[in-house]
């Protein structure tokens, strides 16, 4: 892929890789709103900018799978299920089993949340299997700009994974306060792991970093795995014809990574929410 465009567009392999790792960022730079033309410009935009590419792909995939589930759920039957219903039921039962195994309180929100998490992250990860140039090339053609930055795999954007993790983190805090009450929640930090009042500062010192590490590790684990996989795909794409078997091998291995990371994210979400519901432990 690189050779096809490399001579024209990219001076070197390094430029090819770094270009593919850039985002299509929309924000305010030099006093006016617009798309960033370089990663430096994107960095200048600060916090109030948005990665249009990852956000767009993420929304398309989200609407896609949710519409699919919605259509299936409109005409489900308790009789003999058809192929599509069977497929959806398989996923739903897998999610229910996972939730039953790790979540021991009563909360009607957790299982649908887990289903959404798993399906969505799986699909976003699966974008990794689309050859690295297809979606960017398509976007460049549509935009009429051969130098357009376009990132196709949303989970290689820390903003996306951190977005998920933040939502989960807020839910953990919300349900902790709701189930344990402010005092019970505070008690978790002050009286664990040493249930002595005079050791409260030490407990706080031990528990607080662990608590904030949850969303960060959740976001970084997914981001790190997918980003590394993406970089390998890009490096493989630089190899000319040799990329074909290599790309195939890495893609096959990546099917495992994709599923595993989606499953991990779902399971950890369930586990964190379970901890938020645990009054005594």
């Amino acid at each position: 892929m690189a050779e096809a465009n490399g001579d024209v567009l990219y001076a070197s392999g390094t430029e090819y890789v770094s270009h593919h790792l850039g985002f299509l960022t929309y924000g305010k730079v030099d006093g006016h709103w617009g798309f960033a033309h370089t990663p430096e410009e994107a960095a200048q935009m600060g916090f109030w900018a948005i990665n249009v590419d990852t956000m767009l792909i993420s929304m398309i995939l989200g609407v896609l799978f949710m519409a699919f589930y919605y259509l299936v759920s409109r005409k489900v039957t308790s009789g003999v299920p058809g192929g599509v219903q069977n497929f959806v039921e398989m996923i739903v039962e897998f999610v229910i089993e996972s939730v039953d195994g790790a979540f021991h309180a009563k909360n009607k929100f957790v299982a649908p949340l887990a289903l959404t998490t798993f399906s969505w992250i799986f699909l976003m990860n699966a974008m990794d299997l689309v050859p690295v140039d297809w979606i960017p090339l398509f976007a460049q053609t549509v935009a009429g700009d051969s130098h357009l930055y376009f990132k196709a795999v949303p989970t290689t954007d820390i903003n996306i994974t951190l977005g998920f993790a933040t939502a989960v983190f807020i839910m953990v805090i919300y349900y902790s306060l709701k189930v344990k009450g402010p005092l019970g929640f505070a008690n978790d930090f002050l009286m664990h792991p040493f249930p002595k009042w005079y050791l409260a500062p030490l407990n706080l010192l031990l528990e607080l970093p662990g608590f904030f590490a949850k969303p960060v590790s959740l976001a970084l684990r997914l981001y790190g795995n997918m980003f590394a996989g993406e970089v390998i795909f890009l490096v493989i794409a630089l190899l000319g014809w040799y990329q074909l078997p290599l790309h195939f091998a890495w893609a096959v291995f990546h099917i495992l990574v994709i599923t595993l990371q989606a499953y991990l994210f779902m399971m950890l979400t369930i586990v964190y929410l379970n901890q938020a519901h645990q009054v005594d432990h």
């Binding site: 993420s58 739903v92 933040t166």
Partner: protein, 156 residues
């Protein structure tokens, strides 16, 4: 990897999607699974009940068969007894009828014999007269002698 507002957008979108999933998508899917589970449980229970019913029916059928066998044997026994009785009766009747017929035949024979004797007697008288006419040839008064001969014939 600069952080920007994408984090917020994705958080909000995620929450909305999860909420939509819980409100719209999840309930019908789970309801269907639950319904099917119930159907299967009912089906299994029905099968178990049917098996018990079958066993009970088989037992009852066996008992009924025994009763029917015994009744049939009884009926056959009765029929045999009745048949013997009928045969005996028929034999008795036949014997009586035979005796009656023998008696009638005997009476008939006796009558015939008497009638023959009567006829014989009359013919003997005629023959005797004819014989006497031949012997006597001469004109013996037929009328005078006839009286005599008739009394003779009556004595035979």
């Amino acid at each position: 990897m600069n952080l920007n507002a994408t984090v917020l957008g994705q958080s909000i979108a995620f929450a909305l999607f999860a909420y939509f999933c819980m409100k719209v998508v999840w309930p019908p899917l789970v309801a269907v699974l639950e319904e099917r589970r119930k159907k299967i449980i009912d089906g299994l229970e029905a099968a178990e009940r049917a098996q018990l019913d079958l066993a009970a029916a088989q037992e009852k059928a066996g008992a009924d068969k025994e009763i029917a066998k015994r009744e049939a044997a009884e009926i056959v026994e009765q029929a045999k007894r009745r048949a013997n009785q009928i045969v005996e009766e028929a034999k008795d009747q036949a014997r009586a009828e035979g005796e009656r017929m023998i008696a009638a035949a005997n009476a008939e024979i006796e009558q015939q014999a008497n009638r023959a004797k009567e006829a014989l007697r009359e013919q003997v008288a005629t023959i005797a007269i004819a014989g006497a006419e031949k012997i006597l040839q001469r004109s013996i008064d037929q009328a005078a002698n006839e009286e005599l001969l008739k009394s003779l014939a009556a004595e035979l």
